[in-house]
Amino acid sequence: MDFEAIVSKLKERWPEVEAPAVEAGDRFVIVPAEKTLEILRFLKEDPELCFDNLMALAGADTGRELWLVYALHSFKQRHKLLVKAVLPREKPEVESVAKLWGAANFHEREAYDLYGIVFRNHPDLRRLLNPPDWAGWPGRKDYEYPKEYRGVPLLRDGQFFSDDIKKANAEREARDKALLSSAIAQRPQ
């Protein structure tokens, strides 16, 4: 089935599903965050759609809100679909799909780890890539890098030579500017 057919099939059950037009890239459908699980279950179990493969599950942060994107694919029907759920930045929660696709397990853990998206009824929702006692959600736009972790200093200014050089050069440039402007000022008439 092509994209339009899938969208119409979804719309007749969930009218609030929308498929915005895009300037470039793939089309995608936006589903309400609270209905993610039932829509995805329908997508997986409906014989015509039959999305039996979860290719990827990505969280994203636009700075205003969080996205949760499911990239679905069907081995039987040979069609693909991008499903997007928009979540609020503070206290984002969504139903876990780990029981639909086993592949979702690690993807959801990663999304939780990087973006702090909480997945309800997830088998074990722990941080995946970062240490369990890591602070903050590194994927978000407003995340600033910690200065140290458990007393171990992390990447800081001046760790590399070129950082020092940048500072020195900036100072020297300012000096030159001042110097030359003064030179212009005291130019003999």
């Binding site: 890239g25 990827a56 636009t62 690690f106 736009k141």
Partner: protein
């Protein structure tokens, strides 16, 4: 159990022991750590613990423009950097609507397949080394060195190539490169037969891998396994074949699929989807890649005959230095040695992407690890790791 006194029961009571396998263990292929809960030799559960190699490449990508992110895709999977470059370039081109010229596509496919050969050589050699046979690994390294020499000639690097660019490739191939590729293809096939004689046919090796880490097709699809791991379970799905993304639709090659348990097949004593099937799929894919290399060399010879100024003869499309792509998002995937590598890129219309998500083959393999290794022996855990061909930078990114 016979009801004895409390003392007897206490003495008869055995405990499970927790082994921390990795991150510095000879055969966890990098820095994978497994929390193995074992009853003697039998593994009750092996929980993977990843993240030791997490460099935040996806986050770094949000601070660089599209052209600058290309070197980082080398580091995502260092065993097949060419394929990683290609996948990223495909995604960006799809988003920006760039059409690379024919010659660039041919060169990309050529280096892809060469890199697939070298990556698979490492995989099957490392699996043999985990099984205790060291010689196949070093023979594989010897063959891989020749591929590295070819890559060094074409792009100057031996591991992190950064050769494929957005809208083409960085350099045209040097003089006499096609002849060398042909020679390598001729060289590789007898070498593989020798390799099979040395290790693949060996009955100890076969016994070690048969009936170990069996994955049924349904499980494989459900766990999102991709590439050789999926095909080893009998699911015939190869993006090069079923969603041709470059000039692959012009090429003839088969998709090797695991045939465990088939008395006439290559794995008569195993079952469908065991480790030996996954291993065999890779061995066969090397031969398929050799075929593809030969065909691409022929196509490149034709391409050389074109006039120097014809659009198909160019190796790089016209791409503005500071690439601005339109607002939108794309999920583009491409067949890598470790299965499909998908790049999900969101663009907000500026020079820099809003989000880059890299979905890799090893990630899903590690995901299903705990369920696959339940009830195996410790030696089998090593076999399963090797047969999944896990590359940790791909998992942690």
């Amino acid at each position: 159990m016979t009801a004895g006194t409390r003392e007897e029961q206490r003495l008869a009571h055995t405990e499970e022991m927790v082994l921390s396998m990795g991150p510095h263990h000879p055969s966890t292929h990098g820095v994978l750590r497994l929390e193995v809960t074992s009853d003697g030799e039998v593994v009750a559960s092996a929980r993977p613990d990843v993240g030791y190699l997490h460099r935040g490449i996806e986050k770094i990508g949000e601070f660089l423009d599209y052209r600058q992110f290309m070197p980082y895709t080398d580091r995502v999977d260092y065993l097949c950097a060419m394929n990683s470059n290609h996948a990223y370039a495909l995604a960006v081109e799809k988003l920006a609507g760039i059409k690379p010229p024919l010659r660039a596509e041919l060169l990309r496919v050529l280096v892809d397949e060469l890199n697939r050969i070298s990556s698979h050589l490492i995989c099957i050699g490392a699996l043999a080394m985990d099984m205790g046979a060291y010689t196949p690994f070093l023979h594989g390294i010897c063959h891989r060195e020749l591929v590295n020499d070819l890559f060094e000639e074409v792009c100057g690097a031996r591991l992190t190539y950064n050769y494929v660019t957005i809208g083409g490739v960085a350099y045209d191939i040097p003089q006499g490169f096609i002849a060398k590729c042909d020679e390598f293809a001729v060289y590789m096939q007898p070498k593989m037969s020798e390799f099979n004689q040395l290790i693949t046919a060996n009955s100890i090796f076969e016994q070690r891998l048969c009936h170990v880490g069996v994955i049924s097709p349904e499980q494989a699809i459900n766990w999102g396994l991709v590439g050789p791991n999926l095909r080893g379970s009998g699911v015939c799905w190869d993006i090069r074949k079923h969603e041709p993304y470059s000039v692959y639709d012009k090429l003839q090659f088969e998709v090797p699929v695991g045939d465990g348990g088939d008395p006439k097949g290559s794995n008569p004593r195993g079952v469908l989807g065991d480790s030996y099937d996954r291993y065999l799929v890779r061995v066969k894919e090397i031969n398929e890649s050799v075929k593809i290399v030969k065909q691409v060399c022929a196509l490149l010879r034709e391409n050389d005959k074109l006039p120097a100024d014809s659009p198909d003869r160019q190796y790089q499309a016209k791409v503005p230095a500071r690439l601005k792509v339109k607002r939108g998002e794309v999920y583009c995937r491409c067949e890598n040695p470790r299965g499909e590598t998908g790049y999900y890129i969101v663009s907000d219309g500026t020079e820099k992407p809003l989000r880059i998500k890299i979905r890799t083959g090893s990630f899903s393999a590690v995901n299903c690890f705990e369920d696959v290794t339940r009830g195996l022996l410790i030696g089998d855990v090593v076999a399963v790791i090797g047969s999944f061909d896990i590359v940790l930078p791909e998992v942690d990114r």
